[in-house]
Amino acid sequence: MNARKLMPHEEAIELLPWLINDSLSGDERDTVLDHARSCVICRRETKALENLRDSVKRVISPAPIPAPDMRNINARIDALIHRQNLGRRWLSWIAEFCVSPWRIAFVAQTVLLVVLGTAVLWPTTRNAEFTTLTQSQDLADGHYLRVVFSPDLTHARLGVLLDDLGLAIVDGPSERGVYTLATQNSMTVAERDIALTHLSNHRSVLFAQPVDLGAAP
């Protein structure tokens, strides 16, 4: 009586290539063969696979295998060993150097000095990356004003306003909408202040200040 478990067809047909190359384990081989005996499809498939294997082998097997030439691989291994030896030499030199605690202390002290020196000498003051409304280099002579106009002020009305006050736009608008206005050269500080008051009270002016006053409010 055959005690072997019957193998499902799908499983058996999958294993046929390895039945043909004779690499199935004993039990597995017998089970596949048992199935193939009673299965026409598997027998036909086995025959086809043998046919395919033999043909494919015939096609590709004749490629001549050259005699082993180890010159290239030996050169690569030599280079590899050379690199490894170089690394080892460095490591052993470091290990040798670090044997004395005085040397370690010297190296540590040097590193510390370099770090401290760098920290002390490194420039720490940096120019501000922002601007203020009153920030200016050459405008602080009393003839210039910083003004922010309301967005609803039309170009025409702006022109009229500036003409009335004897002012002219010399710069702007900045990213924040600030204009720099210049007064006429003949204008005194008192006249400028009157113009400034007029500007400050105008409903279309949000902010007005002389450049030489200092920080923004």
Binding site: P17, S23, S55, I77
Partner: protein
């Protein structure tokens, strides 16, 4: 592979791991024919084959100490060769495919008695993964479990790849698969 030969292989590899160049030469001569044959069947250019073979053996030299004996040594070495061959195959396909794969698949299938060139052309039409499984099974004689170890994939993946490779070859080479008449009937 017998236990004795596996033990000899392991002893040889142990010596290689200790930097024994003589042992490495011995190992090289032992595996060169099999590896060359394996790579030559997969890669069309003999110069590439020799380069890849040297790449494989250089990895063997460098990693001999890392081999833990979880598989047969031949499986380990072929695993390295598999990965190197896959890289080379993919770049071959990328750069030389228009030449190698120019043969129309239908034209291959139309041949009732395929000759050498037609079989070669049919094999080129398989994907690198499928070709590798066909090669490792039919030429190198590995079991499906060994191929799974070589390709670092589950056993079922090996079986599936073989299934697809067989199906593709049947379509490409019906005469070889013993299906010429059926195929002719279908086409008629």
């Amino acid at each position: 592979m017998t236990n004795a030969s596996n033990a000899n292989d392991l002893a040889l590899l142990y010596r290689v791991g200790r930097g024994d160049r003589g042992a490495f030469s011995e190992l090289y001569r032992l595996y060169q024919p099999r590896l060359y044959g394996y790579l030559r069947r997969l890669l069309p250019d003999p110069t590439t084959v020799e380069e890849v073979l040297d790449d494989v053996m250089l990895v063997v030299w460098k990693d001999a100490r890392k081999f833990r004996g979880q598989s047969a040594m031949s499986t380990w070495i072929f695993g390295i060769a598999y990965r190197k061959a896959m890289t080379a195959l993919r770049s071959e396909i990328r750069y030389q495919a228009p030449l190698d794969r120019s043969t129309d698949a239908n034209a291959i299938a139309d041949k009732t008695s395929p000759d050498i060139d037609w079989i070669r052309a049919a094999l080129v039409h398989l994907s690198p993964d499928h070709r590798q499984v066909v090669e490792l099974t039919y030429f190198s004689g590995f079991s499906y479990a060994e191929i799974a170890a070589i390709a670092s994939c589950p056993i079922n993946t090996v079986k599936t790849r073989m299934f697809h490779a067989r199906r593709r070859l049947k379509v490409l080479l019906p005469a070889l698969a013993g299906q010429a008449r059926e195929h002719d009937r279908e086409r008629a």
